[in-house]
Symmetry: C2
Subunit: 484 residues, 2 copies
C-alpha cells in the first residue's frame, strides 16, 4: 500500500482528475489484454504532459516507489499489470500528433496515440504507418514501442523498431534522454533498439518519431487450402525460397478455419486441414509477377485449392476471416489462452505435430492461427476456467509449447512480450551469462529496480528454482497474483 | 608496456606463430584505414579458434590488461588503433564459413571472413549478403558488426544490424553470450542491436549468423547532371518523396566528378556542378516503372542531362567512377581526410554551401562524395601533411563539419564509427544523460573498462573540457597518440 503522505505528494503534481484511487475508478486498470492475471492498482496517475511525467518519476525515485507504465492496456503478456505498492502511470492522455512531415515521411507523436490513428492522420498524403498489430484500432504507439509490436505485415515491413527513428524518454530519476535521429545509423550504443521492446523496464517514453511509408499501389491475396498441415508448412518455406517477400503470409488450421468461417463467412473452403493466405503488395507489375510465382509454388507444394481474390471486396473478406480468428475461436469454449512463440520456418511441421499430441495429453483443444512467414505461432488453447484445474492445465500446456519453441531454436515470444506471463520461460530461453547482462543493463538505467518490477527478466534465483523443478517434471507457478 | 611475465602467460595460450611482438611484425598493425593516427602495439595475438579467444580474454581480465579487438583493419575512425599496454586481438584467423543454408537463407561465419567472400560463397544459390561497404573486398564481417557498416545499398537493404540474426560473443571475463535467433523478434533487451556498432567496447564476437538475400532480377542506373549542387540535393528528396526506394542514390560534386573521370574514365559529363547516380533493382517490370518515375523526377528537378545506362557494362562503368572516387580524389593532393557525417536530406543544400564557405576559410579544398539517399556525407578534405600545420587545420575543419551535421539535426557518423577520431564530437552529439547511460551500459559488460579503452564514448570530464574550449573558440586536441 502507498502511504497517504505519498499520495498527497502525488496529488500536488497533477490536476485532481488525473489521480485515481477510488476502487471503482481503479477496476478498469486491473489487467491488460491477458485477463488471466488481475491486480487492483493502488493508484493511477494520468499525466497530461511531459513535465508531469518527469515530476511523477522524480517523486517516485525520491520515495523509492515503483512505477508501472501503461499504454492502452491491450498487451497480451500481463506486462502492464499493476504491482502492489506502485504507481500505475497511464500515458493515455499524452495523445497528440505533434507533427507530420510528408517530405521526410515522418510523424512526431505522443505515446497515447492509437496505432491506427497514425495511418488515418497521414492518409491524405497517401502514407501509412506499417506495423499493424491485430489490436491496432485500440493499442497505442507507446505500448507498441514497449513491446516492439509486429503484425500481419511485419514480415515485409519489419517490427516497431524498424519503423521508428527517435524517442524522448525519461529515466526513473527524471532525466530526459533524446535518442535516435533521422539518419540510418547513430553514434554510441543503440539505445533506440535497447529501449524498444524493453517493456517499461528502462525508461518512460513521452514522444516517438515514426517513419511513414507510401501506400502500396496494389495489394493482392492468394488463398490456398491443404489436406495436410505439414504440406502447408512446407509451402511457406517454398514461397520465401522462391524469392518472394510477401506482405503477409498467414496460416490457420482446421479448427481455426471452421470457427472463422462460421463467425464471419469469409468464403473459406471447409474441407481442408490448413489454409494459407499470402498477400503481396507493390507496384502493379511486381504484384502480378509475384502472384504468378506464389501460385506456381503453391501448386508444386500440393495445395488442393488455390484462389486469387477476384475483387478488392473479396480480398478484404479473406482477411476478415483471419483477423476475426481469435474472437471466432473464442466462441468455441468459455475461455481461450493465446500463446505467442516463434520457430524457424523449417520446424513448422514438427512443431504442429507436437502441439497436436500435447493437446491430446492435456485434454484441451487447440486452434492454430499464425504469422507463418516469420514462424510466429499463436496456438489458442481452449478451456473452461470454471472447471477446477483447467486454467492451471492450460497454463502448463502453454508453457510446454513455449519450451518446445526454444527446443527447436525459436523463442518464447514473437510479438506479445514476456511481461509476467512468460517470466519462467525466460529461464528456458537464456543462460546465466545473458540473464546477467540483462540485469546489468537494467541497473544501468534503473539501479533501484523501480520501473515495472518483476516483469520481463526473471531473477537468477527464480531460474535456478525453475531449472530444479523442470528436471523433476514439475511446474513453477507464476508470481503471486490474484486471478479471475 | 606489458610485463614479460604477462607475455609468457599469453604465449602459453597460443601456438608460437600466433603471438607477435617483434617490432617488424608489429608495424602492419600500427593503424587502421585512418592512417593519421598511429601507435605500435605492445603485442599482437592471433587466435585460431574460439577457445583461444576466451582464454586470452580470461587472462587479460585476471591481469587487468586492456584488449583491443581488430578485424581487417580497414576502419576509418581509428577504432582499432592499439592502445599502450594492451593486447591487440586480431581475429583474422577465425575465417571459416561454417554453414550456408539456402532454405533459411542464412550463413554462419567467423568474424575474419571478408564481406565480399560471403557473397562469393553463396553466389551458386543466387543469393548475396547485402551490406556493401566500399572496403568490402578487404573488410571482415567482425569489423562490419563492430562498426554497424553500411554501404551504397543500405538505403534499401539496411545496415549490418538489419542483416544479421545471431552472434556468439565473449565478455571480457570469458563468458559466452549467445545472442539473437532466427525469428524477427526476441525476448529480453535487444543485445544484438546493442553489440552491433559497439566498436569492440562491450564484447568480442566469434561467430555471426547473417541473412542472405536473393539476387535482384535486374538492376538499372540513371545518371543525372546538375548545374547547381542545391538542385541535385533537392532532387534526392524528390525521388524519395515520389515513393521510389532506390537501391543506391549517390552524389558527387564538381571536384569529385573531375577526379573520378580523370582516373577511371567512367563517361561522366564534366561540365556540371553535381552528379547523381540513382540505381533501382527488383523484378524487371518494377525496375522499368521506377526508372520511368526517377527520370521524370530528375527532369522536374532541373537536371541538365539524364542518362540511363545502355548496357550492363555501362552500368558498371557508371559505378566504377563512384567507387573509385576516394582514390581518384587522393591523386589531387598529397593527403586527404575522409569525413563521415549524416544530415537530414532536407538540409543538403544548406550544408553543402557551408562546407564550401568553410573550405575557403580554412584554405583547404574539399571534394564531396556521398550516399545522398540517406544523407550520409563524405567530404574529402585535401591537404599536405608535410606542410606544418595543415594536418591540424584539416582536423579542425573536419571537426567543424561534424558539428555542423549535429547543428542541422544529423549525426557525427554515418557508417565509419566514432573510434578515436570523433571522440570529441560525441560531446556535441550527446548531452550528459545520454553519455551517462552509455557509460553505465559499458559498465554492464566491462566494469573495468578493459575492452578498447578510450574509444567511442568520451569521459564526461572530456566533454566538460570540450564545452569550455568550444565556448572560447578553441579546439580540443585529440588524445595523446603519435601521428604519421
Amino acid at each position: 500500500m502507498l502511504s497517504p503522505a505519498f499520495l498527497s505528494k502525488l496529488r500536488r503534481l497533477l490536476p485532481a482528475h488525473c489521480v485515481l484511487n477510488e476502487r471503482e475508478d481503479l477496476l478498469p486498470f486491473e489487467s491488460d489484454g491477458l485477463a488471466v492475471y488481475r491486480n487492483t492498482p493502488d493508484v493511477v496517475a494520468l499525466p497530461e504532459n511531459e513535465a508531469q511525467v518527469a515530476a511523477i518519476l522524480k517523486l517516485c525515485h525520491a520515495e523509492k516507489v515503483a512505477v508501472v507504465a501503461r499504454g492502452a492496456g491491450t498487451g497480451l503478456s500481463a506486462g502492464a499489470i499493476p504491482v502492489d505498492g506502485a504507481v500505475l502511470l497511464v500515458l493515455a492522455k499524452l495523445n497528440r500528433i505533434k507533427a507530420i512531415d510528408p517530405l521526410t515521411r515522418t510523424a512526431v507523436i505522443e505515446p497515447g496515440v492509437r496505432n491506427l490513428a497514425i495511418s488515418e492522420a497521414v492518409a491524405g498524403h497517401n502514407l501509412y504507418y506499417a506495423p499493424d498489430p491485430s489490436s491496432q484500432i485500440a493499442c497505442s504507439i507507446g505500448g507498441n514501442v514497449a513491446e516492439n509490436s509486429g503484425g500481419v505485415h511485419c514480415l515485409k515491413y519489419g517490427l516497431t523498431v524498424h519503423n521508428i527513428m527517435k524517442l524522448r524518454a525519461w529515466t526513473i530519476d527524471g532525466q530526459l534522454l533524446e535518442i535516435g535521429n533521422e539518419s540510418l545509423d547513430a553514434p554510441g550504443y543503440d539505445l533506440l533498439a535497447l529501449l524498444t521492446g524493453s517493456e517499461g523496464m528502462l525508461a518512460v517514453i513521452t514522444e516517438v518519431t515514426v517513419k511513414l511509408l507510401p501506400r502500396p499501389e496494389r495489394a493482392q491475396v492468394v488463398l490456398a487450402a491443404f489436406d495436410d498441415v505439414a504440406k502447408a508448412g512446407a509451402a511457406v518455406g517454398n514461397i520465401i525460397a522462391a524469392g518472394v517477400i510477401p506482405a503477409g503470409l498467414e496460416m490457420m488450421d482446421r479448427l481455426a478455419i471452421q470457427a472463422a468461417e462460421a463467425f464471419v463467412h469469409a468464403g473459406y473452403p471447409l474441407d481442408c486441414e490448413a489454409l494459407l493466405l499470402c498477400e503481396v503488395d507493390g507496384v502493379n507489375e511486381e504484384v502480378s509477377a509475384d502472384i504468378y510465382t506464389v501460385r506456381k509454388v503453391l501448386e508444386a507444394s500440393g495445395a488442393i485449392e488455390i484462389r486469387t481474390a477476384e475483387s478488392e471486396a473479396q480480398r478484404l473478406k479473406f482477411w476478415a476471416g483471419r483477423k476475426a480468428a481469435f474472437p471466432a475461436v473464442g466462441r468455441l469454449a468459455p475461455d481461450y489462452y493465446c500463446m505467442d512463440g516463434t520457430i524457424p520456418r523449417g520446424a513448422l511441421p514438427h512443431v504442429l505435430k507436437r502441439i497436436s499430441e500435447m493437446s491430446a495429453e492435456y485434454g484441451l483443444a487447440v486452434a492454430n492461427v499464425f504469422h507463418a512467414g516469420d514462424g510466429n505461432l499463436h496456438p489458442l488453447i481452449l478451456f473452461d476456467a470454471n472447471q477446477p484445474g483447467e486454467l492451471a492445465k492450460a497454463e502448463a500446456f502453454g508453457g510446454k509449447i513455449l519450451e518446445l519453441c526454444v527446443e527447436v531454436g525459436g523463442t518464447i515470444t514473437g510479438e506479445h512480450g514476456v511481461g509476467l506471463e512468460k517470466i519462467n520461460q525466460m529461464c528456458a530461453q537464456f543462460a546465466t551469462p545473458e540473464l546477467s547482462r540483462f540485469h546489468d543493463v537494467k541497473a544501468a538505467f534503473d539501479p533501484d529496480k523501480l520501473l515495472n518490477p518483476g516483469k520481463a527478466v526473471p531473477e537468477l534465483h527464480r531460474c535456478a528454482e525453475w531449472g530444479a523443478m523442470h528436471v523433476h517434471g514439475g511446474q513453477l507457478t507464476h508470481p503471486e497474483l490474484p486471478r479471475f
